[in-house]
């Protein structure tokens, strides 16, 4: 049984029909990536799964339970976290407070230990524990955003363009972190502009175009597919 199953969802912004019947699934232990051009509807899809937007029709099930009627604030405690597009860390709070907020739904006594775990994984954040998050560099902010999402101990981590705006060396570092988290047992659903990098680490991939999924398959196949290479890998 799939950990996450999205079945024929339609999402609207007012009159704009942004997602037109999208279906996909993510199995436990996989890395799945969603690639597509700007405006294809990737972020809208992830935001809908996380509950920030509600589908007008279709079904979203996580771990066998329907999420359609669950408000976003209750979805995180079911074991799913979204690291949103543009990071959206709390700029005026310290690094540590951001991490505490990531663990908001967990018992308070477990939080200090989890923060220490994050500091071990992200030593740069440890050095900046008391710094106001808005003054971190772009790469540090992205690490904080990922660490904050991990603070809820998700089974499924959704990442919306984690490499956006980062220098190549940092992009590599972010992808290494994703691989590490995956190796530690977290299922990953990844959106990327950097299709090459995403397809190289993913097990399976979906290609989105203007609100529809137009192609799907093992990431390796898509990586060597001529259409995909032309459209998304700049060949």
């Amino acid at each position: 049984m799939s950990l996450l199953k999205v079945d024929d969802i339609h999402v609207y912004y007012g009159a704009i029909h942004a997602i037109k019947g999208v279906s996909f699934h993510v199995d436990e232990g996989e890395i799945v990536t969603l690639i597509g051009a700007n405006g294809a509807g990737k972020s809208t899809t992830l935001n809908t799964v996380a509950g920030l937007l509600k589908p007008r029709s279709g079904l979203i099930t996580f771990d066998g339970k329907s999420l359609n009627a669950t408000p976003a604030a209750r979805i995180v405690s079911q074991g799913m976290a979204l690291c949103p597009e543009g990071r959206r860390i709390f700029q005026q709070m310290t690094v540590k407070e951001n991490l505490e907020m990531g663990g908001y739904t967990r018992p308070p006594k477990e939080i200090p230990g989890s923060i220490e775990e994050m500091f071990t994984r992200f030593p740069r954040l440890k050095e900046r524990e008391k710094q106001i998050a808005g003054t971190l560099s772009g790469g540090e902010q992205q690490m904080l955003a990922i660490a904050r999402a991990m603070m809820s101990r998700p089974r499924l981590l959704m990442l919306d363009e984690p490499s956006m705006g980062l220098a190549p060396i940092l992009v590599e570092q972010i992808f290494d972190i994703i691989k590490e988290l995956h190796a530690a047992g977290v299922t990953i659903l990844l959106i990327e502009q950097n299709a090459q990098a995403a397809l190289s680490i993913a097990d399976r991939a979906y290609v989105m175009e203007t609100g529809n999924i137009t192609m799907e398959g093992p990431a390796d196949d898509l990586l060597h597919n001529d259409d995909v290479r032309k459209a998304y890998l700049g060949d």
Binding site: L52, P71, A73, R74, R88, F90, Q91, M93, I132
Partner: protein
């Protein structure tokens, strides 16, 4: 010199009331991104409730005071859920007009229930008469006289300033140290991201209204203890002044509301004493305009850090 000291103390006391009201304005603005123009009228409701409880029902002042806080807290939550919550997605102009409507609703309801005639607010408490330090400090009529009777400090003034300090300390600790306070700061920065953390945004907004309204009740009782005339429009002017103070300090900023309120009170009293009795308000607003010209975000206005 002593007259200056006395003016400053008076200003500090008046400013403390403004600060307590401004906190409600600024917290609601910070979290719900709306100007709750009915906030001033919640002050008036708080004052009436304590008046009725103490004067008509004969409850001890402290109980009247607590009752006012409870009623205003509930009132704040009810106003938010009936009038503002349905407008979460509406334009800010629609919300503003609704807030003005709620303001008139409260004023007219008060007039219907308690009449338009001003009520003389009873003394909340009395200091015992005494003569201390060989007569250099005397207490009579609820007023402490110092320096050969030249400096008079009323018990209400002291109570007001102490209440303001206590509220500042407790609120600052609440916002910075408690889980709920941190959730409020998150909601004020980014509602969507707060939801992703698991924060119940609607509940947080209700809580903000509850706290702001409880503070309004405190302000109402303190205000009427110092200026003991109570009528349905009592809250309107202090409400506008406190709103000014919140803007002055940087709307959305809690330390800004505290500093803005206290400064506004002091400036107003200085203006009344040294410029013109009638022009105290004008003087205060002139200072506000100058501050906003120099620093449009207010004294403690938030700088937004943005990095891509």
């Amino acid at each position: 010199m002593i007259s200056l000291l006395s003016t400053l103390l008076n200003g500090l006391s008046l400013g403390s009331v403004y600060a307590i009201i401004a906190l409600g304005y600024t917290m609601v603005y910070g979290i719900a991104k709306m100007l709750n123009f009915a906030h001033g009228d919640v002050i008036m409701v708080g004052a009436y409730i304590s008046f009725v409880a103490i004067f008509y029902w004969g409850l001890p002042p402290i109980l009247g005071f607590l009752l006012a806080m409870v009623v205003c807290t509930v009132l704040g939550i009810v106003i938010e859920s009936l009038a503002y919550k349905p407008l979460r997605q509406a334009t800010s102009l629609a919300v503003l007009i609704t807030a003005i409507g709620v303001s008139y609703l409260l004023q007219n309801s008060a007039q219907l229930i308690w009449g338009a005639n001003p009520k003389a607010f009873p003394a909340m408490f009395s200091l015992p008469d005494a003569s201390l330090f060989g007569g250099s400090v005397t207490i009579s009529n609820n007023t402490i006289s110092l320096l050969n009777d030249q400096l008079k400090i009323s018990g209400n003034m002291i109570l007001t300033i102490l209440a303001c300090v206590a509220i500042m300390v407790v609120l600052t600790l609440f916002i910075n140290k408690t889980k709920m306070g941190k959730a409020m700061r998150c909601v004020s920065e980014d509602k969507g991201a707060a939801e992703l953390m698991g924060v119940n945004v609607n509940l947080t907004i209700s809580l903000t209204f509850a706290i702001g309204s409880a503070l309004a009740a405190v302000a109402g009782v303190l205000l009427c203890a110092s200026y003991p005339s109570l009528q349905p429009t009592t809250g309107a002017m202090p409400g506008i002044k406190a709103f000014t103070a919140a803007v002055f300090g940087g709307i959305g900023s809690i330390p800004g509301a505290m500093i803005g309120g206290i400064l506004l009170g002091i400036i107003e009293k200085l203006g009344q004493t040294y410029v013109s009795d009638q022009l105290g308000d004008a003087f205060a607003f002139a200072v506000l305009i100058i501050v906003l010209l120099v620093k449009p975000t207010g004294l403690m206005g938030k700088k937004v850090h943005e990095k891509v």
